[in-house]
């Protein structure tokens, strides 16, 4: 369980010559019943791990698609506590690693130590907190370490080299390389400087590097994966699932994980 499970699962995918693909879904968007179905579906579709978003009232790193999904999830009465309960009750049926993406305030309110313990209890393998930079990570990092849960750090294109090195050396499970200047949501293309950014992170990091933000097509996934280890796709997946276009999600995942196309 935890960090070890996540890192082993990613290694297995890479050993099978696949690009890594982590879909993001908003927990509670469509209700918690649908969540179980979606986790199973993403697992069967070939996802490397699943990033589960915890809805928050003020998601400053997110664009409109995920903001709206969060509003729907909150309207369904979703909370961090209800998601952890759900994950606990379903953990025996699940083999795919689960990563929670949550803003810091719900954790702070929950209690950081209790949060780490309950995550371990619920079979959560990794945590991403977009509004906790290195300067503020001390207390939560300690609690996650005690529970052997991967604390996945985020790198940004604005970070100078020294920060990127430090972030890369700290990250556990994988390194989340934010590949745009701005918030989550589909972009038609990524800037020219993304290539050197990802390749530098690959040099600094001992864990896989995944590019996220702005990724919505198989072509983009292949292009970015050729400079790192794979991608994270959020808004596009959230949007397709909301529209019930599960087949397109499957095609996106299966197309993206193939390394043969651009080899």
């Amino acid at each position: 369980m935890g960090r070890q499970k996540l890192e082993q699962a990613l290694q297995q995918k890479q050993a099978a010559n696949q690009n890594l693909f982590v879909p993001y879904i908003m927990a509670g968007d469509g209700g918690l019943d649908l969540l179980e179905e979606r986790i199973n579906f993403l697992q069967e579709s070939g996802a490397s791990a699943i990033e589960l978003g915890i809805p928050f009232s003020d998601p400053i790193a997110d664009g409109p698609t995920i903001q709206e999904a969060g509003i729907r999830a909150l309207a369904n009465g979703t909370s961090l506590a209800s998601i952890l309960e759900f994950l606990k009750s379903t953990k025996v049926d699940r083999s795919i690693p689960i990563i929670l993406m949550t803003y810091v305030n719900p954790i702070y309110r929950y209690g950081m130590e209790q949060f780490a313990k309950d995550c371990a209890d619920s079979g959560v393998d990794g945590i991403i907190i977009p509004d906790v930079p290195m300067e503020e990570e001390g207390p939560i990092a300690t609690h996650l370490k005690n529970e052997k849960i991967a604390f996945i750090r985020l790198a940004a294109m604005t970070s100078p080299e020294e920060r990127l090195k430090e972030i890369a050396s700290k990250s556990e499970g994988f390194l989340y390389a934010v590949a745009v200047m701005g918030t989550t949501g589909a972009r038609s293309s990524h800037g020219d400087n993304v290539k050197s950014y990802l390749e530098n992170l690959k040099k600094y990091s001992t864990v896989p590097v995944l590019a996220g933000f702005g990724v919505s097509t198989v072509e983009q996934a292949h292009e970015l994966s050729s400079h790192c280890d794979g991608v994270i796709v959020g808004s596009k997946i959230v949007d397709l699932l909301h529209q019930g276009k599960n087949n397109e999600v499957k095609n996106l995942i299966q197309g993206s994980i193939q390394t043969s196309i651009h080899a």
Binding site: L74, R109, E136
Partner: protein, 398 residues
């Protein structure tokens, strides 16, 4: 007397404050802190700032002995620090002029800001017009409807006002959107945050720029009365005018500091903005402080008759002054603020902003417990012209 040195080098006021932002923004905060610290000890910067404060904004503002008000209340001698007489009609411009000059110093040409009722937006658009900076102001769609005139003012001053229809379409959502915009344009854009909130170094920078209020007050009250005041009162939303007034007095322990929080319909109802009285510790817009939130850590909507106090969080330094009991924060309801609004208008011929009316209302309560040998200063943070239409409609409805 103890020396007060907050914040520490991590931007903390005791346990409060910090920098809870995405990594994308961290380099900009580090750059801003460095540029700010260098600027404040560079005479060429401080002299330019002083020049604009005097010649453009009209400082110093008077500390006016409100004789009629004092007599009618029958308590202490009451003085009004007339921030309403600043250019654009409120204290907000003390901060925006400083940050705009800093924007130029950092080599940036664009500015983004958030605004609730429009006062900070107008103060930002004004200095951007003066200094030739591009200006985008995010404003909630609801607030734009309620404050059409301020939207026009900002546009007249050359700013682009962008409507925010996410969430409750008010100040908190406008701030979210301004932060998102800043993250996308951080290389050439500075974010002029309007209150002593947000991630470090904003609370410190806004406090320092607003401290001109307290510094002037201290000199003026000694000149007029020969001693420090016994009490100082200011309203608190995010808390920029109040921290600017309080800060120069923090080490003077004989001076009591009072903050008036917006209690809306009452702190026992759900409709208020009293973060210190009713909030719990939380992390919001990059800082750890008292916050109106539910048991799951979701941020609640604030409520107040005064748009400028309508914010669910509060500056981290106020949280620190509150828990250390150096300052005392009391809730003031809409009704009490409205009464004070009318009372000051009639007794002194000064129409206060609804925000400042909360401070006046608290002073009216405190005055009952004080003697004629004591003095009390109210920070009159803004003028009430912007509020007369709203107050008229409200009084006619009653």
């Amino acid at each position: 007397m103890t020396t007060y040195t907050m914040p520490d080098n991590k931007g903390r006021y005791g346990e409060f404050g910090g920098q809870f932002v995405p990594e994308l923004l961290m380099p900009a905060l580090i750059e801003l802190e460095k540029a700010y610290e260098e600027a404040m000890v560079d005479p060429s910067f401080t002299e330019e700032l002083d020049y604009y404060l005097k010649q453009y904004i009209g400082r110093e503002t008077p500390l006016y002995y409100a004789e009629q008000l004092s007599k009618q209340l029958g308590g202490p001698k009451i003085f009004l620090k007339r921030e309403d007489l600043n250019h654009t009609g409120a204290h907000k411009i003390n901060n925006t002029i400083g940050q705009a000059l800093l924007t130029i110093r950092m080599g940036k040409k664009k500015v983004v800001a958030e605004t609730g009722a429009g006062q900070h937006g107008v103060a930002t658009a004004t200095v951007c017009a003066l200094l030739g900076l591009d200006c985008i102001v995010f404003m909630g769609a609801e607030d734009m409807k309620r404050q059409k005139l301020n939207v026009f003012r900002m546009e007249l001053l050359g700013a682009e006002v962008r409507s925010v229809s996410q969430g409750s379409s008010t100040l908190k959502d406008a701030t979210n959107e301004a932060l998102r915009y800043w993250a996308s344009h951080v290389n050439d854009t500075h974010y002029i945050l309007g209150s002593a909130v947000g991630p470090h170094p904003f609370p410190k920078m806004v406090r320092d720029l607003q401290s001109v209020i307290g510094k002037e007050t201290k000199l003026q009250i000694i000149e007029q009365t020969g001693k420090l005041p016994d009490a100082v009162v200011a309203c608190v939303g995010g808390g920029s005018n109040s921290i600017g007034m309080f800060h120069p007095f923090i080490e003077d322990e004989e001076v009591k500091l009072y903050g008036a929080e917006a209690a809306g319909l009452g702190v026992e109802t759900k409709d208020h903005a009293a973060s210190l009285t009713k909030g719990k510790l939380g992390i919001f817009h990059g800082t750890l402080s008292h916050l109106l939130q539910d048991e799951n850590g979701q941020v609640k909507e604030a409520f107040s008759i005064s748009a400028g106090l309508d914010y669910p969080g509060i500056g981290p330094e106020h949280s620190h002054l509150h828990v250390t009991k150096r300052a005392t924060y009391k809730p003031i309801t809409d009704e009490e603020a409205l009464e004070a609004f009318q009372f000051l208008s009639k007794t002194e011929g000064i129409i206060p902003a609804l925000e400042s009316s909360h401070a006046v209302a608290l002073a009216m309560k405190l005055a009952k417990e004080m003697t004629s040998k004591e003095t009390l200063v109210i920070c009159l943070s803004g003028r009430g012209d912007k509020d007369v239409e709203q107050v008229k409609a409200r009084l006619e409805a009653e």
